[in-house]
Symmetry: C2
Subunit: 222 residues, 2 copies
């Protein structure tokens, strides 16, 4: 292993290669089963160099979570143009989300499954990213409510609840799509858009569902 | 501690008391921080008796997950009458779900947060419960599609995707509702019903959302 040459490449490039190898290994093997030997070999570097650069398995895993969380949030935000109508923004955002999770299944496994399963410190890293996405979706739904023809009087709290529901649905569907043979990113985005937008669209148009035989429910979470 | 009397009460009753204390402690303190001393004290028994009955902290936690998962699935199933129309079944199921998670916030914290965060063995216990609920919701959506006036031709795979989306939305919303002051179970159920049913209702009526300027998307996940 001492024979591995590491001088030629800048540290930043080497680190990204180590992270690439780590995300793949953590995503496919799971955090516990993944070994630093395997990660070093896949990255084409010596194990001491991985420890020198990333310090420990815990720190390497945290670096993976941060890099992949940042990349996912950036991909969703880059997919959306805030000058377009709200349903178009949601559709573009969902396509960007499902395209990214489908193209980077190991990264999604690290974020959605591994990071949540191996202790509170890692889980907190993912929670920070999730909060950012919930805030983004909350603003999108609030903007949609403002631009609706009929003022739907959606209380702030209900908008927050809808954003939580939408993000939870997207997370669940991405995990399912990646685990199910033959489901494309576009199909997953379409399923969720049909589910979410028609429902949100009805709300924006002032049409609420109400239980059979009961008065229409007004301002349910105000 | 040797002075605690344990003879009078049958083992099954004692065990339930220990589990009550454990769910409360794990739910409020988190799995790592929860101590067996605290659980024993809250249950009004000696620590050796907890170990005698439940063996270890890991086994005690597993017993909590199993008991609470079974109770949650039973509550949802008991809330639904399968002879009623599909939207009524969904509404009843959602009300039962949010009522149960609101009334048992520590149990929901154990299932949704703690069990997923502290290793694959515990996470697998919760996955088994989740699969049961997804199957239940899948059957409900499939039944709704069958009873819709216009045959909506929902492919089996899209029904599965919708069920995943709905369960993910409910999980996310329950965690948010329990963490947000003043959100009632009925409000959470209403928010999700408005979100989910109007969307599903449009699908059942053959109305699909389609991107602006594109052909309506047909059979997106067939």
């Amino acid at each position: 292993m001492g024979a591995v040459k590491t001088k030629r490449m800048p540290r930043a490039v080497r680190e990204q290669q180590m992270l690439d190898a780590a995300v793949r290994t953590f995503g496919q093997r799971g955090y516990r089963a993944a070994s630093m030997d395997e990660i070093a070999e896949l990255a084409g570097v010596s194990k001491p160099l991985v420890y020198l650069y990333l310090n420990s398995k815990e720190d390497l895993f945290t670096a993976c979570i941060r890099r992949e969380a940042t990349a996912l949030v950036a991909a969703v935000q880059a997919g959306v143009r805030t000058d377009l109508p709200a349903d178009r923004q949601l559709w573009d955002g969902l396509r960007a989300f499902f395209a990214h999770t489908a193209q980077h299944p190991d990264a999604w496994s690290v974020l959605h499954l591994q990071a949540r399963t191996h202790g509170e410190v890692f889980a907190a890293e993912v929670t920070a990213m999730r909060d950012e996405i919930v805030t983004f979706v909350t603003q999108l739904i609030a903007a949609a409510a403002r631009e609706a023809h009929r003022n739907p009087h959606l209380p702030e709290r209900e908008v927050a609840g809808l954003a939580e529901a939408l993000v939870g649905a997207a997370e669940s569907l991405a995990a399912w799509a990646n685990a199910t043979e033959g489901v494309t990113a576009r199909q997953a985005a379409t399923t969720l858009m049909n589910f979410a937008w028609s429902g949100l669209g009805d709300l924006m148009a002032g049409r609420r569902w109400s239980p059979p035989g009961e008065e229409p429910l007004t301002r349910p979470a105000g």
